[in-house]
Amino acid sequence: MSDQPAAVRLTAALPAAWRDAARLEAHAADLPAVARFVRDRLGYAMLTNLTAVDDLARGEIEVVYHVVSPAGGAPLAFRARTPRAAARLPSLVACWPGAELQEREAYDLFGVTFDGHPDLRRIYLWDDFVGHPMRRDFPRQGDKYIAGAGEE
């Protein structure tokens, strides 16, 4: 998946930033530095996709960032992990404004708080919704909200 030379350059330039260099998994605290390097030095100007993955087995949420260069080529994916119980990651909106809505989506559906996000609110669900429905342990309730909402 990842563009090999870019990944190699990235791991070589920031050797201390990685929790798992093979998967390009950064420490949460080093994420902004990685992002800046990726954008400014490697030329990946676009954060094209931000995905949160709930790793229930390890009790962590992984956030995968796919970045692409306007010059072309396959996207580069780097990631960071945060404990499910207190999911927090630094926001990358300052680096890529395009992260704004995507971080809100991850916050809404997975409960990952992005520090430094200018407007971190729920995006799809209503504000007093409890829970984060895309987490793997969120109960799948069928059509409870259609007719059974009065009870429970």
């Binding site: 998946m1 676009m46 996709n49 995968v64 996207p75 395009g98 809505l101 995507q102 429905p133």
Partner: protein, 376 residues
């Protein structure tokens, strides 16, 4: 600044509004008619598509991808099929790839024709441009129905190919359509392109400069309208796009007018691609689907090895990406849609600030969103 005191006016455009292209809301703060702030509000069509997919087997999600961008179900199918094929390492026969590209480019023409029409409607025209676009769209939908059985919710793609080969009546109809398309392009352009009012309403409006457009992650005609020649068909060719000759139209200013012109030019480029595909289609081999997966039972029981894959296609609205994580079971562990309509809305507030209320709907129209994809 005026000497008299004035109050700001809060206006909710949507969720029910003629020009929000679905159930979408914009909280607009107005000073007179000038937009001071604009906040998009999402979620009225949210149906947790991703969770649904994580609770279904891989093939069961295919018809749901039709409902993402219900104008362009073919490209949505394509993106999802591509992601699963990468995940599971499935080969696609040459003929299937050609059919897929053919459907994608037809989709692009129908999307752009109606997208321009809808945008002109947002400017206040009385459906004429839209009707002309719809007329051509109907013909393309006829083709889709012949091939897939449905006009809009095509569900035509399968892992490793497409559900069935083109029926015998398809190509004659297609050839006739192709003969008519250039006249349609010319007339559409004549009707719209030199129209002073359209030029006045769209040039200088909603400018997204070249140097910030990429940072906002916008893709598709919005990004190209800003002058960035980024097209996934060339940046990371999929299917047979590496073998096809086409140009990437880009704008120079990055305003609504440029986006419209880019769409015009892309329709002509799609026409060019379709000509090439039509020329080579009879010589292609390999059948319409990978023989290993031709039996539907194989599709149903697909268990991709554990891993992850991200595949993206150039949908008419921009980069449509699918990110899949497999744990080796029949259901994806994580299924994520990178929806172009959704992410292209990121700079909406910034683009609208300082413009008039009338420009807001035009800017929104020039982004070309579909709520099925925005809210998922």
């Amino acid at each position: 600044m005026s000497a008299h005191e004035s109050q700001l006016l809060q206006v909710n455009i949507g969720p029910q509004h003629p020009s929000t292209h679905g159930v979408f809301r914009m909280e607009v703060t107005l000073d007179g008619e000038t937009v001071v702030a604009l906040r998009p509000v999402f979620g009225y069509l949210h149906r947790n598509h991703e969770q649904l997919a994580e609770a279904s087997s891989y093939i069961q999600t295919m018809p749901y991808t039709d409902r993402l961008d219900y104008f362009n179900s073919m490209t949505s199918n394509y993106g999802y099929a591509l992601a699963v094929e990468r995940l599971a390492g499935i080969e696609v026969p040459q003929r299937a790839s050609y059919i897929r590209a053919l459907m994608s480019e037809l989709t692009r023409i129908l999307n752009h024709a109606t997208a321009i029409g809808f945008m002109i409607n947002d400017m206040g025209a009385w459906h004429t441009a839209l009707q002309f676009g719809m007329r051509e769209r109907e013909k393309i939908l006829d083709l889709f129905e012949m091939a897939s059985g449905a006009r809009m919710m095509c569900n035509y793609f399968r892992f490793g190919g497409v559900v069935r080969d083109l029926p015998p009546e398809f190509l004659p109809y297609f050839d006739q359509l192709m003969r008519g398309l250039p006249a349609f392009f010319d007339e559409f352009e004549q009707l719209l392109r030199d129209n002073e009012i359209i030029v006045a309403r769209s040039s200088g409006i909603g400018i997204l400069p070249r140097d910030v457009a990429a940072g906002y992650s916008v893709t598709g005609p919005v990004l190209r309208g800003s002058g960035v020649p980024y097209d996934i068909r060339r940046a990371e060719p999929y299917g047979i796009y590496g073998e096809l000759a086409f140009d990437i139209p880009v704008g120079s200013v990055g305003d609504v007018y440029d986006r419209t012109l880019v769409r015009f030019a892309e329709m002509r480029q799609s026409y060019r691609i379709l000509q090439q595909i039509r020329e080579r289609l009879p010589d292609t081999g390999g059948g319409h689907i990978n023989p290993a997966l031709a039996n539907f039972g194989k599709q149903k029981a697909l268990r991709p090895p554990a891993g992850e894959a991200y595949a993206r296609v150039e949908s008419p609205k921009g980069e449509l990406g699918f990110y899949l994580v497999s744990d080796g079971s029949t259901q994806p562990y994580r299924y994520k849609v990178r929806a172009p309509s959704f992410i292209n809305l990121t700079p909406l507030g910034a683009m609208c600030r300082g413009h008039l209320l009338a420009d807001v709907v035009v800017i929104l129209g020039s982004i070309d969103i579909v709520m099925g994809e925005v809210d998922r």
